[in-house]
Symmetry: D2
Subunit: 232 residues, 4 copies
């Protein structure tokens, strides 16, 4: 059965501006397609995504259509740029919107992202790729994604400001190319294994009464916080 991957480009730049992150994501997509994975890329900033932590904030919110694609996919790759040493605001916003999935479960009572696989692509002029990748992969694992070995690929230049991925010739950088291939192969390997042998709903389902209570509490809090929900 053909695997599906959704790739979210969290660059700060709207289309049609050239995105360095997309250039590295395209290398990953090349690998995924060679492994017979159906790929769909979305540039998040081109959509109207309000800040918040629910799956549907109403009023023109275009997150639900992105979430629907993620729910239908086997693999989620989050691409992002580094700003000030950490992941950019659009990537953080995407993770915050995924918080809404904690309020529902899959058919067997686990978080909806169980049995999906996550990976990360990072580009920046310099320093910060580990910080971006570690925070994002950890957040994905909390949401239910499985993280394969070497689930990230990144390019950064040396210390200080400098040219970006494309101008710097990052597309031929041996380490970046190697890890792009590793991550693509490993997300596919794990997605295949999980499709054949899904994680059984044993000891990892959302406790019903607690879930209901939590949901009520969250719901209450979110209602209090309307129009945009947030607890803090």
């Amino acid at each position: 059965m053909k695997l599906k991957a959704v790739l979210l480009n969290c660059t700060l730049k709207r289309s049609p501006a050239v995105s360095n992150t997309q250039a590295l994501m395209d290398i990953v997509i090349g690998h995924l397609q060679s492994l017979d994975v159906e790929c769909e890329t979305l540039r998040v900033v081109d959509y109207n995504i309000p800040f918040g932590v629910e799956s549907d904030l109403g009023e023109g919110d275009e997150w639900p259509q992105i979430l629907e694609k993620i729910l239908a996919a086997d693999i989620l790759i989050v691409g992002m740029s580094i700003w000030f040493g950490v992941r950019c605001s659009v990537a953080q916003m995407v993770i915050e919107r995924l918080d809404g999935t904690y309020d529902s479960t899959n058919d067997v009572g686990q978080y909806p992202m169980y049995n999906k696989v996550g990976g990360v692509v990072v580009t920046g002029n310099e320093d910060g790729a580990h910080a971006c990748a570690e925070t994002t992969l950890f957040n994905l694992s909390h949401l239910g994604f499985t993280i394969p070995p070497n689930a990230d690929t990144y390019w950064v230049g040396d210390a200080g400001p400098g040219p970006s991925f494309i101008d710097a010739g990052g597309e031929t950088h041996p380490y970046t190319l190697k890890t792009a291939g590793w991550m693509a192969h490993n997300v596919v390997h794990l997605a295949r294994i999980l499709k054949e042998s899904p994680i059984p709903p044993e000891g990892n389902t959302v406790p019903k009464p607690a879930a209901a209570a939590a949901s009520d509490m969250r719901g209450r809090e979110k209602r209090m916080a309307s129009p945009v929900s947030e607890s803090a």
Copy 2:
């Protein structure tokens, strides 16, 4: 001479939703006012702030009016909520927009934020306050702010989801109250000292030719990246 403080509330929630972060910021403001500091609070999400890294992105961008207030202030306090263990997207967006100040200098050739003092306020249901504070204070120090001792105050509950600052009675939490007072006093002490004895422009000015070159490079990159500029 009276000191001025600008406090940016980076909650995800638009007015008039109740903001837990604001509740803790108000405690800090109480201290600052008792120390004769003029305070102005802005809730960032109520403004139209596009993603980007320049000081003016045109077309309805309301960041310039916020930046103008920061430039006129002696103290900047950034308030934020924790989401997924790190600072929220709105706080990250604010820091990204401050990147634009690297393209200019103060009268003596230092970054424009030199001789200003920074502090941080964090609230969250649980875990992540150190991460929010450390990233933000470090970013502020890179931008030119001085960071006094104990320049942060925060409240978080214990492990896992739970009530937020106001509902949890955080406003009477001894550690949070103590550190709110410490940070308020220390940002004021440092701001006063720096007003009397500004950091001299020795060994810390933006090198002119390099600055021009950097500016040109950045400018080129930003133009390439238009409409929203970003290097990665």
Copy 3:
């Protein structure tokens, strides 16, 4: 076939001092044993482990015997305490020593930790569990471990100093108990799946010439850096 788990307690305290981290690790061990996993716990600080980044530093180095156990196990759980908002020094030292495994491969040419599963246990008086878990799980994924969903469990108190896990009654904390069960079940599920369907050596093997070159370079550098090797 029976699975084996190695659990490293990275507390700063030597035996026989009571370790709060061990108390939470014991809850995880209870789950693992009920799932028929053979468990072995080591308190790292009781061994003589010099600082460094090679698998054997000679002269009384007891890391090789710990590494041997990790290599023979299917699951590695790293337990640690939080100090100053991040993972403690002993946990960092353990990760540094695992750097030495990059210099070898398994039988099919992947990093030696491929097809093993990683998890994390964190305790602290307050704030920092996400930082500890995210850094450690990411490092493990780079080394070759697969990270299942919800691969961490932690306990922290609310803001500021306070009692530790045992004194605070953390052993009955619903969120911590729930996540301890989730992580135990999920590391086992993934270890079983990977035992049946190991990640094939396709697109993720250490490139031979590059590996040799890298190994040479690292070797050279390590020799230069003797007696304790480190590149920076």
Copy 4:
């Protein structure tokens, strides 16, 4: 009055191995000496420093002699290498040992590190300098240090393994040289200002009864945890 600086090199490598971090620290020392600052460098790993969080762990503990030098200095510079994207274990160990200073105060009742200034030097083959600097500068600010603008200097290469600072010619890297000068000048400027106008003991002293209570609690916990004290 002549300022004193203590510089701690937290490399993993014992003397006489060449330390890349020291090479960058030496550049900073050159600036400090030109500004008439008396400098003393210690390579921490050459001393016998047990893991722990008290100022004196007895039994051959050599931390007290290092702490004494820090207490007598106006400026503390912490040099460190990056391993796995974060600060190395020796740097983390140093920060943990500084936890012991929370149990005492200066003459006016503030933390002993008040009116001292902190800075950071980082080297690594690649990525992670921001993470090292931000965690360390934040920890120092919590301990009582003031953090000037641009209080860090670092060198890293581009993505992936590669040569270290010295071999890579980092000693002529424009960004690293510029920031080394900035940080040296700014720690000196701030140390001078704070010597002339110390932060007054207003709103930032350790509350006596609470301090005694906290000290008792910590003491109790530390005694429980003996021989090496730690709370988690």
